[in-house]
Symmetry: C3
Subunit: 360 residues, 3 copies
Amino acid sequence: MPTSLSDSCRPYDSDSIHQRLNSSLSRPQLNKDGHLRHFLGVEGLNKSQLQTIIAKAETFFDEQGQLINSPELEGCTVMNLFFEPSTRTRTTFEVAEKRLGANVLNIDIARSSTKKGESLRDTLWNLQAMTADIFVVRHSASGAAHFMATEVTPDIAIINGGDGWHAHPTQGMLDMLTIHREAPRPFEELSVAIIGDIKHSRVARSDISALQTLGVTDIRVIAPRTLLPKGIERYGVTVFEDINEGVKDCDVIMGLRIQNERIGSPLLATSSEYYKHYGITPERVALAKPDALVMHPGPMNRGVEIASSVADGAQSVILKQVNNGIAIRMAVLSLAMQGQREYQLARRQTQTQNNPQTGV
Amino acid sequence: MPTSLSDSCRPYDSDSIHQRLNSSLSRPQLNKDGHLRHFLGVEGLNKSQLQTIIAKAETFFDEQGQLINSPELEGCTVMNLFFEPSTRTRTTFEVAEKRLGANVLNIDIARSSTKKGESLRDTLWNLQAMTADIFVVRHSASGAAHFMATEVTPDIAIINGGDGWHAHPTQGMLDMLTIHREAPRPFEELSVAIIGDIKHSRVARSDISALQTLGVTDIRVIAPRTLLPKGIERYGVTVFEDINEGVKDCDVIMGLRIQNERIGSPLLATSSEYYKHYGITPERVALAKPDALVMHPGPMNRGVEIASSVADGAQSVILKQVNNGIAIRMAVLSLAMQGQREYQLARRQTQTQNNPQTGV
Amino acid sequence: MPTSLSDSCRPYDSDSIHQRLNSSLSRPQLNKDGHLRHFLGVEGLNKSQLQTIIAKAETFFDEQGQLINSPELEGCTVMNLFFEPSTRTRTTFEVAEKRLGANVLNIDIARSSTKKGESLRDTLWNLQAMTADIFVVRHSASGAAHFMATEVTPDIAIINGGDGWHAHPTQGMLDMLTIHREAPRPFEELSVAIIGDIKHSRVARSDISALQTLGVTDIRVIAPRTLLPKGIERYGVTVFEDINEGVKDCDVIMGLRIQNERIGSPLLATSSEYYKHYGITPERVALAKPDALVMHPGPMNRGVEIASSVADGAQSVILKQVNNGIAIRMAVLSLAMQGQREYQLARRQTQTQNNPQTGV
């Protein structure tokens, strides 16, 4: 059992996807009935489980397509633990939590008592003892959410709000919800093109896994070689270096953010060079199916990854993604809390059977 | 359509009040029934509209004069977007929003994804898509709230929490509420003296406009020439450089804060010099009517703009202003949300009539 | 009447406990019925008053020992004024306040208008006028909470969240609640050993006072001479420099945090030296009674004040202290608010009798 997070979490190695997929077989995020009790990643969840999340999210829209409030977390205490800042993700979670009626606390974990020399483990145990029911975790180290859920606080429902370069599963699921709601064909018949910095994108990773689980067989990744993880083809995707080839007749065009801050070495030429070769322009959108969707996880670099006219155009569902993100976060918060309760109830019953004299 | 806020908002030109008053004729803050759907400024609102706000605010006091809660924004999401910090204004809005039962989010916009190169427009569109109903906006650029309401997010009720040197309309209205509740005579019969840095005060601007609309004919501005905007007399106020003359027999004495941080050049001598010539002292208060009110928007520089004994004296209503500020903010939040709903409903009906097949 | 906090609050003099105990005889935190209307410290509260707080806290646990919500502060506005940061204390108060249904505002007082030259007094009066009912105050100056309650805002229920080296009364009371719930014997029969930096600990001060009031006669303080206030023996405690002697046959072992940041001069050798002489090890715990409790206020320095195996061992109630801390804070918030209401009601009735014509 590692004594600190840094012991257990190596910096992300982009070639080790395989190992990580295998390690997910232990199904740490499911209770014995196969229900979520954490939401750590889309890997390890089967088609029916992903469909359950999507279906749950859809219950949060009314007949006019407006999001509703649903007090399913009334009386629960949700703590947003952001070890790295992300105003956008934190805000979407906070809106979702308040729509579910939870007591919400934002813990500025970077400024807290970990500074006083307290270990991460003690910090989390203390927050748990303050009667937290759910931790939403954002961390720069890959596997941080998984480590908390399995090693530190298994009795708190952990929601992964993005960890290192590993996964950003609520972003992945909101993309799936958006495709489900907006695409004119079911997942099994779709061609999806993902364009950009696949190598350093936690979004790409979550999207590819979820698309495959939901039945998409034609996934195309479009990027210069320097922005592709080695061996990516093994995961059943087709690689294109030429965007015009890659987007041909596809149903969904997903742009990725060029994350300048993530790139250590000069893997990219200038941003205008990138736009010339990989920018999502009207001409390139025209090569896809006429009803193709254009998606982007935001924040956009207009004129770098995408033309403004495309971002704001009729085929763009970029702002719908944001809106769907609230519903997806409401869904995983509600489902994980419910599954965590089932898990704790089952555990208490087992304890009572084994030690009937100590049972309440 | 400007592509950034800075394109559309020149630094405030203190001589251009006239143009701004004219531009307000387009009535961007009203729906077709003449109800508020934003609250951008007191200019452009007529007497009856200001009276509606005052009357609404009065409904939030109980018989003992205590503020009540009134869940008129239950289920609504209010985002406080403070582009420049103001603990005092943010806190009063947050109290008001929570008394109305809203879901409240404080977005530290200075630290958010605008830092990642995202434009203001994209940031606001994203926040809107996260199901915001109301933005409370504080910005250092004059016209920022107006720009958002007309150009960026017309479907969100925008409440101006102070923009540049332009306006601070909730402060203006809380002053009107205070005069209405505390003064022994109606607006039409009052003499009001405003003392201090008129030139750089967003409060003075809002106050003068509101007082005139509500029927005050005798408005006196008292300041050294260097702290007066050129041509101020054109707006129907009387200028005094001698405070003893200016406060004579008046009903209301309003001090303004000397905003040292706003003054680029040394327009002022020392603060003790200012106090000597323009400080609100017991002797000067004695020149006004015996029941004259003493007001100040806070935070006060005691011993500079005002003597401590006056600030804490029997004629001071300075802390009542703060208390009334909660009621006024509750009023404009509630009224603007209601008017925004009417506006959206009317628009949807028009769309349905024009395109009956796409109507819901 | 001092005009600023610093005028009234000398830096803490560790030899002046006696004077402070005497000054508390004025009972500023009680209304005329002897009920709390503030919660400033455990000094000045008698046994029955401390028992009332403990009994109230126990009402917030259900039959399974889980904390419940109890909307006793619904409609109340609680402002957390943290003049010095403390994520842990702020979070526990925020959880408690939300479980009581209050409207909660966190005021980052360090960044607020006090920066603009406003006095502390004006800041507090303004926050009061924004309809605050309760201030939770954390301040680095000893006596700050007391100053606010008696001099500045007596109509707001003030809860002391820790002031200087003076007191940390909610920590003291959560320790009492923990002993009450976990110890196998009543207070009168207990031997309690407190180990560590007594001199600089606001926790130790509050604990010793509360233990004595609740009837504990055998209190042992264990520390090197350099970490003991002079004359400590006068307060009815027994001093031990040898921990092995001190913990012998005791019922409760309370470790204190070595607060490196508080110590100006090198009073301590290395931390390993401290552990060798004063660390709470399994061997030392074995010298106490077999059912002795091990306590620590957190955050722990594992391997300095306490061995990890003890901190996580069967006799440790350290995380129960955290959980009890929520209940205690709910109790003092609720009781103080109730007592403040009684106080204000009584005062209004007196005013009405004296001036019947101005009564409502």
